[in-house]
Amino acid sequence: MMGDESAVTLGVAPLVADERVRTPWSEFWRKFKRQRVALVAGAFVVLLVVVAIAAPWITPFDAENYFDYEKLNARPSATHWFGVDALGRDIYSRILMGARISLAAGFLSVAVGAFIGTILGLIAGYKEGWWDRIIMRIADVLFAFPGILLAIGIVAILGGGMANVVVAVAVFSIPTFARLVRGNTLALKHLTFIEAARSLGASDRTIIFRHIFPGTIAAVVVYFSLRIGTSIITAASLSFLGMGAQPPTPEWGAMLDAARADMLTAPHEAIFPALAIFVTVLAFNLLGDGLRDALDPKIERQ
């Protein structure tokens, strides 16, 4: 019997081993799924995205054009879950629609910033010399303006409105991604496999995009998630300052600004948008932390 069993095991073993080939993706998942907090945060982000997409169909009232003049500043109730604002609009509906705006602003601005920043970082790190000096000098100059100040300057030039806020926030994401990717590129480009690719006659373009870029993805993904949180806060801040979304747009920062007038009598008008921003940004930050722990090779040794 014993002999039979081991024979079976021996016969099966190679198959099992084949299934457990460690791909970067399975490695990532193995580490990421151990982090409960990040998993919950990730699930919440997915939920937020679904809500943002479905918002126009699931809001109980029209976020901009429904006015209940009988219930101005009313507290939360069964019909109006988050209460009613100073103009008689349903806050719950406005928060749901606001998720659409904040997520889109956060995601778009970081995507644009990451795209341009990554390409600039790849070029600077790979070419070095003049390219590097010029690109990094521009990044230094962009870094010389504290984040939100740069955004305010850009909004002052382009004018208010959410589209311009996205441009402004994207611009100040560029240098961080450029520096990050440049550092990784510098570290990767002298490794043997790049040398091998070059000796096979691969073009610069192939080396950069097929061989170096994949090595920088992990860092970019981690930063992307952490950056979305910051960008949502910055975009909401600009709206709060009156430079972003204009009324009646249900943007969370703009809603908080409007709630300032009625803080004494109707604090719920401020609490729900504040909570919405907090929970959303928290989810992205926790997700980013989890991604970093799962993707950063430096964490492994601990």
């Binding site: 000098r137 230094d140 100059v141 010389a144 303006f145 504290p146 984040g147 939100i148 100040l149 305010i152 300057g153 909004v155 002052a156 030039i157 004018g159 949180g229 806060i233 909401a236 801040s237 709060f240 300052l241 009156g242 430079m243 920062g253 908080l256 709630a259 300032r260 803080m263 004494l264 604090p267 401020a270 609490i271 948008p273 504040a274 921003i277 907090f278 940004v281 928290l282 930050n285 926790l286 932390d289 601990q302």
Partner: protein, 306 residues
């Protein structure tokens, strides 16, 4: 040391020039004619031409840039379009409230942030760490303007302990500096923790423990000094964050500082004020980073100034 400082200051020149050039270009990037903007919407074409000459906007761009740099060096930023007072006076009036607000925020956020970070690192993965890091991640996720409104509602309106607006006494500083510093304290806590965790795993810490030093001395004497090095760098970066954050916080607390001046200027399209403030904020940021680099060397004897 002096040589190093001189070298660093010289190295700043290209960045300063580029920043100055961008700020200078700002006026020309604005939609519409700056001369008409300065003259006001009701001015007739002759007045607009006069204003254009007066502001030197009729000259070529290089000439204008030289004029602009000359003005900045003489601390002359032109006249505010809104109040008709000189921009330098406007800024001088508003400088101190913002300065003290930033300093107080930095002070307490560094103290609390580092304390939280050290506690979290020493009791890693135990409950002090969990609490500390939960606070920290919440701190970076709560936008300053929302936090300010919540704090004001709670401490000023409901409890009546602290005043809501104004900058007369230290009690006026409590809530705004708390609001402004919260995110920085959170970042400092996370950063100090990871820096400390790394240091506590080093060989020299094991040596210190092995030779029988008590844990407190190991943490404070051997750990702190080495963990401080990256933390100080982080502090410099956060100063820029505070400068930016003050813009938002000043609106919440109706603070008579530079941030609100900037917000009002953007609202009124008062471009000389915007220009001067953007320049001033960036200059502060650049100088602070220089100071941090110098401090860095003072704490870390391994770095030699060359």
């Amino acid at each position: 040391m002096t040589q190093y400082l001189a070298k660093r200051l010289l190295g700043l020149l290209p960045t300063l020039l580029l920043v100055g050039f961008l700020v200078f270009l700002f006026v020309h990037l604005l939609p519409g004619d700056p001369a008409r903007l300065a003259a006001g919407p009701d001015a007739n074409p002759e007045t607009v031409e006069l204003v254009r000459k007066d502001l030197g906007l009729d000259k070529s761009l290089p000439q204008q840039f030289v004029r602009f740099v000359g003005g900045v060096l003489r601390w002359d930023f032109g006249t505010s379009l809104r109040t008709k007072r000189s921009v330098a006076t406007e800024i001088a009036d508003r400088f101190m409230p913002t300065f003290w607000l930033t300093v107080w925020s930095m002070l307490w956020s560094v103290l609390i942030g580092m304390a939280l970070g050290i506690v979290s690192a020493v009791w890693r993965n135990k409950w002090p760490d969990r609490i500390g890091m939960t606070l920290a991640v919440s701190g970076i996720s709560f936008p300053a303007f929302a936090l300010g409104m919540v704090l004001m509602q709670f401490f000023s309106v409901q409890l009546g302990w602290l005043p809501t607006v104004g900058d007369d006494t230290w009690r006026h500083y409590a809530l705004p500096s708390l609001t402004l510093g919260a995110a920085v304290a959170a970042i400092m806590a996370r950063f100090t923790r990871s820096s400390f965790v790394e240091i506590l795993g080093e060989d020299f810490i094991r040596t210190a423990r092995a030779k029988g030093l008590d844990e407190r001395r190991v943490v404070i004497k051997h750990g702190l000094r080495n963990a401080l090095i990256p933390v100080v760098t982080m502090m410099g970066l956060q100063f820029g964050f505070l400068l930016g954050g003050s813009i938002v916080v000043e609106k919440v607390f109706n603070w008579p500082g530079l941030g609100r001046l900037l917000v009002d200027a953007v609202d009124m399209r008062d471009y000389p004020v915007i220009q001067a403030l953007v320049l001033l904020f960036s200059l502060e940021f650049i100088l602070i980073n220089l100071v941090v680099d110098v401090l860095y060397g003072l704490i870390n004897p391994a770095i030699r100034y060359r």
